[in-house]
């Protein structure tokens, strides 16, 4: 409990320091919104032009996009510097975190909390529009709303696990930028579309080594299309918890291999 309180306190300090530069905060929020709207338009243009993709409508793909965007917002807000671990390894800054009286991972996660307001507004807006349209069409019921919130949460856990696994490789490789392009950027971009678009070998990667399929596609099969059954959500949650447990064990092994840059 003390650790959680400490983490919250550090996050608050991080937010306070960020809000010292209010103009920069609002400018970055505005620009982040524009970036994300533009990114979604790229997907939307294709969907509108071809009236959906492989049986998935504009609102269904919009839902896939919004869910994974919001999961990313949670992951990158609360654990931003997990993504930037290689910077700590290259500059030897991890030494400072090791001297703090809290677990290394928690210390890393409390660094540079990001207030991703632009991304939240954009992702939330798209999700709201898509859900309202799907509700009006009678494709989903009100239960879809709490289920979606749960999917976003488990998605964030999965994205965090993928991100932390990739960063942990940094204890051996030091620089993991290229790996992150593959496991985080490419995989997340791929998951914005229905995974049936991809060939079998690529799809199987998204179900196993980089399990991004469980962040939005798999649970959406039940929530949006009523395929399989509610057990799909239970299975998704189990996968998220399994990923989390696995990556924490892997992190402990990686951290034990850490060698400082020296003086």
């Amino acid at each position: 409990m003390n650790l959680v309180r400490l983490y919250v306190m550090l996050i608050r300090a991080s937010i306070r320091s960020r809000m010292q530069y209010r103009f920069n905060f609002w400018l970055s929020t505005l620009l982040a919104t524009l970036v994300n709207v533009s990114e979604f338009l790229m997907v939307a243009v294709v969907l509108v032009r071809f009236d959906g993709i492989q049986g998935w409508s504009l609102y269904e793909v919009g839902y896939l996009y919004a869910v994974i965007s919001l999961s990313k917002v949670i992951y990158r807000s609360f654990a931003n510097d997990v993504h930037n671990l290689d910077r700590y390894l290259v500059n030897g800054e991890l030494d400072q975190l090791l001297t703090r009286p809290l677990p290394l991972l928690l210390a890393l996660m409390s660094q540079n909390f990001r207030i991703m307001l632009g991304e939240t507004i954009q992702g939330g807006g798209i999700l709201a529009v898509c859900l309202v349209m799907l509700l009006q069409q009678g494709q989903v019921g009100w239960i879809a709303i709490p289920l979606t919130l749960w999917i976003i949460l488990t998605g964030a856990m999965i994205l965090f696990a993928i991100g932390l696994t990739t960063s942990t490789f940094g204890f051996w490789l030091t620089k993991v930028e290229v790996l992150q392009t593959l496991t985080e950027d490419a995989a997340r971009s791929a998951a914005q579309y229905p995974l049936t678009l991809y060939p079998g070998w690529l799809r199987s990667i998204f179900f196993t080594f980089i399990p991004v399929a469980f962040a939005n596609y798999v649970p959406s099969l039940y929530v949006l299309r009523h395929e399989y059954g509610p057990w799909l959500l239970v299975a998704t949650t189990a996968v998220a918890l399994l990923c989390l447990a696995g990556v924490l064990a892997f992190w402990r092994v990686g951290a034990s291999r850490y060698q400082s840059t020296g003086s």
Binding site: F23, L31, L41, V45, T181, L202
Partner: protein, 258 residues
């Protein structure tokens, strides 16, 4: 003789990281494969008007490789970092315009990326998807000119992004904004003629199609090199803006004592 020296040195600096960059090429090409698979999936049930599935694969493959020439210029041409460290004051004191020296360094980078990133990535797609190559020399000459214009525009944009660091610490966001607009408006993933009319109008009134759309259309033989006149006009306009902004930067910079 500053021009060849700076370009050559920037090229040689990059040569030291050839191995690492070749691995990076793999990651970049996988991104392209993902986009290609999306079009293959769509093409299985829809007609891809004017391109066909094969044409669209070639379109996306070329664009993914061309990003390394016209899309991935160094963030702010390294200027934000120089603003943070104060090095910018020394750069502005030099008897050469800041724009000229940073742009020359970037041309070395562009040349390197053309050889070690554009060509290998394009060749990967060409082998995997059995691309047929253009047979006329004029097509290659036109494409090369189009890529050079695109690279110059990309350098100018990054220079403007870089100089913004003198006014705000958030210049990085302008870099990302440019990248997002590039993806949407340049015809990188969706050909400009397929954009909805309002978005197509924005695209065609901007410089973005000269970064991706026109080079690939010339390469595929859909357009002649005469369309590049518009690109040259944009180059002149951007050069003037960059010169003006350099003058403003000189007025803006403050050197701390100590």
């Amino acid at each position: 003789m500053l021009f060849p020296v700076l370009v050559r040195k920037a090229y040689r600096v990059n040569l030291q990281y050839r191995g690492s960059h070749l691995v990076h090429n793999l990651a970049s090409s996988l991104f392209g494969f993902m986009y290609i698979f999306i079009w293959m999936g769509i093409g299985a049930t829809h007609e891809l008007e004017g391109y066909g599935v094969t044409g669209m694969i070639h379109y996306v493959g070329f664009n993914q490789a061309a990003l390394w020439v016209t899309g991935f210029a160094t963030f702010g041409l390294g200027i934000p970092q120089r603003v943070r460290t104060g090095q910018i004051a020394l750069d502005l004191m030099r008897p050469v315009s800041l724009f000229y020296q940073t742009a020359l360094r970037e041309w070395g980078q562009v040349a390197y990326q053309f050889v070690y990133k554009f060509l290998p990535i394009y060749l990967i797609y060409a082998i995997v998807f059995s691309f047929s190559f253009p047979t006329q020399f004029s097509t290659y000459a036109g494409t090369f000119a189009a890529l050079a214009i695109g690279a110059y525009l990309a350098i100018c944009i990054q220079y403007l992004v870089g100089v913004l660091a003198l006014w705000t610490t958030e210049s990085g966001w302008f870099h990302w904004l440019n990248y997002a607009f590039l993806m949407l408006l340049s015809g990188f993933f969706v050909p400009v003629e397929w954009l909805p009319s309002w978005l197509r109008a924005i695209s065609l009134h901007s410089f973005y199609p000269y970064l991706q759309y026109h080079p690939v259309k010339i390469y595929l033989g859909h357009e002649s090199a005469s369309v590049l006149t518009g690109g040259l006009v944009w180059c002149v306009g951007f050069s003037l803006v960059c010169a003006m902004v350099t003058w403003l930067a000189r007025q803006r910079v403050e050197v701390q004592g100590g």
